[in-house]
Symmetry: C3
Subunit: 296 residues, 3 copies
Amino acid sequence: MSFPDYSGYKEIKVRLDDGVLVVTIDRAKKYNTFASSVAKEIKNVFDLADRDDRVRVVIFTAEHTAPAYCSGADISGGWDGLFKEDEEDTELAHRDTGGQISISIYNCRKITIAAVNGHAAGVGITALQLPFDLRFVWAGAKQTLPFIRRGIAPEAGSTYLLPRLIGYSRANSLLLTGGTYFPNSHLLQSLYHEILPTREEVFPKALALAKELAVHASPKSVRYTKGLLQHGGSSIEETHLLDSRAIRILAASPDAAEGAKSFFERRPPRFEGKVSKDSWYPWWMSVDVKYRKSKL
Amino acid sequence: MSFPDYSGYKEIKVRLDDGVLVVTIDRAKKYNTFASSVAKEIKNVFDLADRDDRVRVVIFTAEHTAPAYCSGADISGGWDGLFKEDEEDTELAHRDTGGQISISIYNCRKITIAAVNGHAAGVGITALQLPFDLRFVWAGAKQTLPFIRRGIAPEAGSTYLLPRLIGYSRANSLLLTGGTYFPNSHLLQSLYHEILPTREEVFPKALALAKELAVHASPKSVRYTKGLLQHGGSSIEETHLLDSRAIRILAASPDAAEGAKSFFERRPPRFEGKVSKDSWYPWWMSVDVKYRKSKL
Amino acid sequence: MSFPDYSGYKEIKVRLDDGVLVVTIDRAKKYNTFASSVAKEIKNVFDLADRDDRVRVVIFTAEHTAPAYCSGADISGGWDGLFKEDEEDTELAHRDTGGQISISIYNCRKITIAAVNGHAAGVGITALQLPFDLRFVWAGAKQTLPFIRRGIAPEAGSTYLLPRLIGYSRANSLLLTGGTYFPNSHLLQSLYHEILPTREEVFPKALALAKELAVHASPKSVRYTKGLLQHGGSSIEETHLLDSRAIRILAASPDAAEGAKSFFERRPPRFEGKVSKDSWYPWWMSVDVKYRKSKL
C-alpha cells in the first residue's frame, strides 16, 4: 500500500506529525472565508485521513495571526456563487458544500480535533467545529451563527449536530438570536473541550493532547467508540446488544491484550494502527446522499 | 386579509408593539393559576399569532407585581375540575389542557419568548416555559415541578421537552425530586437564555431582544430554522438532504438578497413579513391529536 | 405476599431503612472491583427492589473508607475471564455483565440513587452511576472512562446513557480522551445532582433525600414519570397523547387526592405503596435481550 503525501493543496496546508495530521486553512488574506475550492480540499483530506493507517488524530486549525479562524461563506458575489454546479439539473440536485465536509469529518474514523484560534461565523462553526470530536478555542474568539439575520437557513447538518452536542435550550438560543457570543458565554461553554486565554495557546494544547492520544488510544477502540456513539441503539436494550458484541470482538483482539498488559506494566501501549475490515464493523447502513440525475 | 385585534380576552391582556405581540396573564388575584379558561385564550392567541403576518415575535409574561408568574393548575376544586368535558365519552378522550397550549406554542412559526418575572410551579413551567424558543427569568423566581409529590404525572409534553432542552441528568433531577430550585441552580441554569437580578428587568430585557429580532430576523428564515430544529433528520445525512434543500430555496428568496445586501451596507435589513406557503414547507407530516369519538 | 429479607449476599450488604433500600458494595480489599459474582448480586437486588412494595428508593454506595467506589472490572486475569460462560455457544451469545445490571437498574420502577463516595473507573461509572436517576458524588473522586486506552469499547449501555444525560459534546470528550476528571470538571459537573466536599458527607446527604422522597413521592407517580421519561413519544404530539392518558389515570387515583389534600393541609402525604398492575402501564413493548441458543 502506498500512502498519500498530502501535497498539492492550494487552500490548506497539511503535514503529518507523529501520527497527527495537521490541517491548516491558508486563506488569511481572504479572512479564511469558505468557498467551494476550500470545501473540496477539506473533504478530500478527511476522506484520505480516514483510510490512512499512519493517521491516528486529525487537527484542523488556522494561523493564529489570521484575521479569523473562518469568517463564514464567501458571499462577496452573492449567494448564487454557491449553487452554480447544480443548475445543470433541477434545484433538488443541490448538496450544500458545508454539509458535504461536515459528513466527511463526522464519518472520519480517527479522533478529530478543531483548534479554533480565531473568530468564527456561520460555516466556520457549523462545518468547521460541530462535526469534530473535540474543540479547543481561544476565549476571545467571537462566535456567531447569523443565518436568520441573513435570510437563509442553518446548514452543514448543524440542526442535527448542535442540539445533540449542547442541548436544544442553548442551540435554540444560538440559532434563533443569531447573536455573537464568546466561548465563555453560558450558551457556548459546553461546546468546548477547553477554552484558552490566548490565541497562541490553542493549537499547541490541541497538538499535545493529539500526540498523547496518537500513542495511548487504540485506533480500533476509537472507531468502535465513535460507531457506538453515532450509530448506537434506540434503547438501552438495543445498545446493550451492540456494545456486548463490540466488547466481545475487541476483548479478543491484540489491542485489548496490549491495553491490559501495558496498564499493569505502567508503560505506554503499542497499539496496532491498522483499521482493517472486520466482519461486523460497520454494523449500520450508510446513507447515500448523492443526487440521482433526472436527465441523461 | 383582515387582522385580529386581539381584544375580548378575559384572562390575558394582548397588545401588538412594533411586530412584537405581548401576551400578559391577568389573574394576579388568583396567583396566576392555570385553568381551562386561561388555556383556551392562550391557545387561541398563539394560533392567531402563528398566522398573523404582522407578528414576528411573541412574548408571554405576567405582571411583575403579581404573586407569581404562574403558580400551577388551580386545584382548589380538586383534580376533577380538569376533566369535566371529557366525561361525555371514554377516559381516552382526555387531552391535557397544558399539552394543548404547549403544542400551540411549540408549533408557532414565530420566535417565542417567555419572560418569567415571578415564581412558577407545574404547568407554569411545563406549558408556560418549556415550549418557548427562549426564556428570560428573574433570579429570585422559585421553580418547582412537584408532580411526584402530588400523586400525578408530569404533563404538557414536559417529558419530551425538558430532557431535550437540558439533558436527562438535570431533567431527572428536577422531575424525580419534585424540589424547588432557583434559576441559578446548576440544575436549572441551562434552561434560561438570561437570568436577571430583579423582577422589573425581566420583561424589558425580553422586549428589547424581541424588538431587535422583529427587525433583524427574516420570518422565513425563522420558520425554516425552527422546522429544521423540530423536524430535522434522524442522521447527519438525512439532515444534510433537508438543509440543502432549505438553503437552496431560501438563498433564491428576496430575504437572502436583502440579508447579504444590508450586511455589506451595514444597515438594518428590510425583510418580507409574509409567511406564505411554499411548495415544500412544511416537509413533515403533522400529527393529529384529536380524539375520535366512539359514540354518535 | 412474603418479602425478601435481602440476606445471603457475599459481595454486597443490603439493608432496608424506612422505605430506603441501601446497597453497599463490600469488596474493599479488592478495590471494589467488578466481577461476575458482584454483577449477579447487584442485578438480583435491583430486580427484587423493583417488585418489593416496601422499597421506595434504592441507594447504591460503597464504604467511604474503601480505596474506591468501584475501580472498574477485575482484569487481573485478563479479559478472557469475563466471557467464560458464553463459550458454550457462539460469540454472539455474549451479554456484557455491566449492561445486564445497567438494564436492571435503569428499569427499576423505584427512585434510584448512586452515592459515589470514592474513585470510579470504567464499569464503576458506566453501570454503577449512569443508569441511576440521581448521583451524589465526592468532589475528590477521580472519574475515568479509559476504554480507548485499554483497547476495548465502552459498555453497559454507556453510549446510550451518557450522551442523553449530559449531551454529546461532553460525552465525546470523556469517552474519546479516556482521561481522568474530577466531578467539578466542566465535562462531568452536569452528571451529578450534588457534589460534596468530603467522602463522609456523600452517603448521609443521599440518604436524607431518599428518606424524604420515600415519604413525599407517590410510588405510582414515580413509575409513570420514569416511564414517560424513558418511553415517551418521539414528538411533542405523541408525548401529549401519552401524558394525557397518564395524568387522566393518575388524577383519578387515591394518591392524587391525597397529594392535593396533604398539600392544602400542609402535612406529609400518606401515599399508597403498592405498585400494582394497571391495565395500561407499561404502555411500551419491553425488549428481550436474551440470546437464543443455536444448538440443542
